[in-house]
Amino acid sequence: MSASIQKVGPAIPIQCHAWSSDRQTIAVSHNDKLVELYKQQPGGSWNQTDILDQHDLRVNDIDWAPNTNRIVTCSADRNAYVWVQGADGKWKHTLVLLRINRAATCVRWSPQENKFAVGSGARIISICYLDEEKDWWVAKHIRKPLRSTITTVDWHPNNILLAAGCTDFKVRVFSTYIKEIEPKPSATEWGAKMPFANLMAEFSNSPTGGGWIHAVAFNEEGTRLAWVGHDSSIAVADAPSGMVMMKLKTNLLPFLSLLWIGPNRLLAAGHDCVPVLFHVDSAGKVSQGPKLEEGGNVVEATAAASAKNMFKNKDRLGQELVDSRLGTTHQNQINSMRILEGNKVEARRVSTTAGDGALVIWNLASGALAGKLAALKI
């Protein structure tokens, strides 16, 4: 079975999820102010081990740093908390003053885990780092030229560059170089001068607007940046070839999340409730591959068992057959996707959470899916 459903709490939409580095514990938020930690039991079920309860409003994003084992959460209450696990196993929080006056929307630890970036509805990205002397997190702001809510952020492997997607239909790459905590970075394909908040590159999703950006992702080397927008498109920008951007408009519903699962392979998932494979060739051109599972159509219900039921349905629902179940594993849009096993060069297992409150684990190395991936050679 290449897609397996896991039950982590009630069937309430899951806003976001993040894994511990040993992948035994998952942090989820069920569309409320709490972050719940679930640990996998030997039998395969999930037990709730902790509840992180500090936010006042809905938690919008969670990220779990694999090496330092710190969790960062951000919320509509305009705050972020950094959580550290003590020797007794309990999680202690530290408030981070983001100095924003709108909701925080997304958060990601940098590769070296000494900084994290928070996007917000205040048109500001807060870059937070630990001031060792005072032992508190300081936030620096990136403002120009952001004109609208930042929906998604992703870090370049050099720990300095940050990509951000925005509801002004643009994707931008900024420098987050903080001279107090890190050495001056050397030049990359995105440019040489990297003072803090410098705009290294800007991409418009489409000359005709093109929809909000829902997810951005750097590839393993940081040479390519991929994103998905609400106009049902997926695009890849290639820095070495001179910031060339290649976009593919799909026939599907918009995607909400995106992962690199190979040097030339992307996995995108969203309103079609199933992850879809994409291939990027050497010229940067994107082409659509198969869905990870078929059966996207509504499953036809069998005719009502009795005449009584048929009329009952007609009366109650206005139709004879009850056909509200989708043919895919997820029953609602997928809004969060993580690599569970592997990395951006070779991902073996991927996890998705969705509006149906389910966590699904996709085994990309299993027979059926491996065949699809192998066939994905253009």
């Binding site: 239909f169 489409s206 000359p207 005709t208 607007g209 093109g210 929809g211 909000w212 927008g229 609400h230 106009d231 049902s232 498109s233 408009k249 799909t250 026939n251 599907l252 519903l253 918009p254």
Partner: protein, 121 residues
């Protein structure tokens, strides 16, 4: 940046009168007709789109669609929905056939782009 519309109405009208309807459609769709800003020109663009779409018979639709690229199909879908929004006399039935045929070529993606794109028909 924003492409301004460069609709050559005379050229399109002359193509329509010599019954080169599919050519008229291709020319119209490639002249950035959604780039029109002021209301009068927008109405004129919609009127022109309506005349072209009504001129092309059902039997010619598949052939016309096969000659259009992805971007043109997206623009076409925008004008089909514009036609639903402000219907002309007797147009809806014909537009529904157009919609069905364009939809089978583009899938739901083009409908999403009708809603999500900044520039409307």
């Amino acid at each position: 940046g924003d492409d301004a519309a460069i609709i050559d109405a005379n050229q399109i009208n002359s193509l329509l009168s010599s019954n080169k309807n599919v050519e008229a459609l291709k020319l119209f769709l490639s002249s950035s007709p959604t780039g029109v800003k002021d209301p009068t020109s927008k109405k004129a663009a919609r009127d022109l789109a309506f005349r072209i779409l009504m001129a092309i018979k059902t039997a010619q639709m598949d052939g016309a669609i096969s000659q259009l690229d992805q971007d043109s199909l997206d623009v076409l879908m925008k004008f089909i929905y514009a036609g639903f929004e402000s219907p002309y006399e007797g147009s809806s039935g014909h537009l529904l056939v157009w919609h069905e045929k364009v939809f089978s070529a583009t899938g739901i993606g083009s409908v999403v782009r009708v809603l999500a794109d900044k520039r409307k028909a």
